[in-house]
């Protein structure tokens, strides 16, 4: 109740036409346990107050008690859709701190895995986007294609979502002998399926009407609110860490950072679809050229970081993910902070959705591609 009172106190004057609706924590379109306190007038959204913390699991506190390889396995559980990118961020951070040079093969494998994760995440986003807009069939088409990627993961890493594949100094297993063939089959298959996505949803006149000129986010706002990933790039914010601070095998591949300045829901949608094409392109460049070599360098049994502070940025499917490790030379970190993309992206929602209708709020939230454990950590 106190929150509601506060909101009434904070508003400039009391609007008698307005009413408050709690969207969440259990609501079909908040994709988890996110609660939005929405101030509405009729159908028009006036103000949105996100309330997070319903799935706060204290990962940062837990990390202070466990060793570095164990920290990696916890990062799976934050943004579970781009688990491998999170793993990689911590692994890279540790390798940088220890000045370990990983073999070329590891870099290639990690980059391929990154892009596969990105594809899987974008596929899930696409199906959920369709479902939020009422086209329920997209959900199953997206999941159908995602299954192939999860099978690839399962064969090589042993798990489908919580991969825990990157370890300090390399990867946990070498790639499975079937890996290359499976990935190539998947690319061939998915290249055929991607145009279907466009025909089913992108081109649809109802979809276009629903998304075009909705949820505008200006470049200034995108930067000020730290909106990254395809959501930020839809506003023209060049924020692709793969381009600006390349890691792993990204310096070796040709790819385009998809940018657009329109900043509306449809642009964010389109950029993600284009990113899927780019991801396929990146994998195609790497998959045949994986160099021979070790899949990990030999590390000591107990990983100890030198004293100091280390930061590593990677590009996940949702935007920029950062790991900030403060070490005091012991075997467990002194402080770990995760900069999660969803956290910054979510709070720009008010900027985008105010003035639009409830249905648009749902569409805008979909294009932000929120994963709630990523926000709450």
């Amino acid at each position: 109740m106190s929150e509601i009172k506060e909101i009434i106190m904070h508003s400039d004057k009391i609007h008698t036409d307005e009413y408050l609706v709690n969207m969440g924590p259990q609501h079909p379109s908040t994709h988890g346990v996110l609660r939005l306190l929405v101030r509405l007038e009729g159908e028009i959204v006036h103000n949105i107050q996100p309330h997070v913390g319903y799935i706060h699991s204290g990962i940062e506190k837990m990390c202070e008690a466990i060793s570095y390889p164990q920290v990696i396995h916890l990062t799976d559980r934050m943004d579970y859709l781009s688990a491998h990118m999170n793993n990689e961020a911590v692994a890279l951070c540790i390798e940088n701190a220890l000045q370990v040079e990983v073999p070329e093969r590891v870099k290639y494998i990690r980059t391929i895995m990154d892009e596969l994760s990105r594809l899987a995440s974008h596929q899930l986003w696409w199906c959920v986007m369709g479902m939020d807009l009422g086209a329920l069939t997209t959900f199953f088409y997206g999941l159908r294609d995602r299954e192939h990627i999860l099978d690839i993961f399962e064969e090589t890493c042993g798990a489908r979502m919580t991969l825990n594949y990157s370890v300090p100094g390399g990867v946990m297993f070498d790639i499975h002998p079937n890996f290359q063939k499976r990935v190539k089959d998947f690319i061939k298959e998915f290249r055929k399926k991607l145009p279907e996505y466009d025909e089913l949803l992108t081109g649809n006149v109802i979809f276009q009407e629903r998304t075009k000129n909705i949820g505008y986010l200006s470049l200034e706002d995108a930067i000020a609110w730290g909106v990254t990933g395809p959501s930020g790039r839809g506003s023209g914010f060049s924020c692709d860490v793969r381009k600006h601070q390349p890691y792993s095998a990204y310096p070796l591949v040709q790819f385009e950072e998809k940018l657009d300045t329109k900043g509306d829901t449809f642009t964010r949608y389109r950029l993600r679809i284009e990113e899927m094409h780019e991801s396929l392109h990146i994998i195609e460049q790497l998959i045949d050229n994986i160099p021979e070599g070790d899949f990990a360098v030999k590390m000591k049994g107990v990983v100890k970081l030198p004293e100091g502070e280390f930061y590593q940025r990677v590009e996940t499917a949702r935007g920029e993910f950062g790991v900030y490790i403060v070490s005091d030379g012991k075997k467990n970190p002194y402080r770990v902070k995760f900069r999660s993309p969803g956290f910054s992206n979510l709070f720009a929602l008010n900027k985008m959705a105010a003035g639009h209708k409830i249905a648009d709020l749902v569409a805008i939230m979909s294009t932000l591609d929120l994963v709630i454990p990523d926000i709450d950590r």
Binding site: E60, A97, D221, W225, Y311, E320, G322, K337, A348
Partner: protein, 151 residues
């Protein structure tokens, strides 16, 4: 601007700050009183224009609370790490930078929630994840006998 030039420029511009090359990025330790002014300068000066705050974290050191701001300039693509120590560890107080970078509004709420760092001039400083009865869990002296199992 190269890294060395940037370091020299920052050292010249902010005489009260301690500028040094860290392990990865240029680090800049400012006094708590200068924080807001420095933040405004870092963002507004055209040669610097650090307009993108990509990480804001609080660290609990034995004698002080430190808040770390990772800043990037979208136009110049250079990065600086701004650090500020609070005078008091138990009841830390800093100026808010949420009017400089909007995203700091919620990041500061997170720091307040988990570490108990209060921010002046913050419009809406409430707990973010936890409810009001919790302590500040990321502090090193935080005790929770029920939920934390020591091995």
């Amino acid at each position: 601007m190269t890294n060395e030039e940037l370091q020299a420029y920052l050292a010249g511009e902010f005489s009260n700050a301690e500028v040094k090359q860290g392990k990865q990025y240029i680090e800049m330790l400012v006094r708590a009183a200068d924080l807001h002014e420095t933040a405004v300068q870092l963002k507004m000066a055209p040669v610097l224009s650090f307009d993108y705050l990509f990480c804001l974290s609080g660290v609990d050191y034995p004698d002080t609370m430190q808040v770390v701001y990772h800043l990037e300039s979208v136009t110049h693509r250079h990065i600086v790490v701004l650090k500020v120590n609070t005078a008091d560890r138990v009841d830390p107080l800093l100026d808010s930078v949420s009017d400089v970078w909007q995203t700091a509004k919620y990041h500061e709420r997170e720091v307040y929630d988990l570490l108990g760092v209060k921010f002046n001039n913050h419009k809406d400083l409430r707990r973010l994840f936890l409810d009001d009865t919790w302590g500040f869990p990321l502090r090193k002296d935080y005790k929770d006998e029920v939920r934390i199992v020591e091995r």
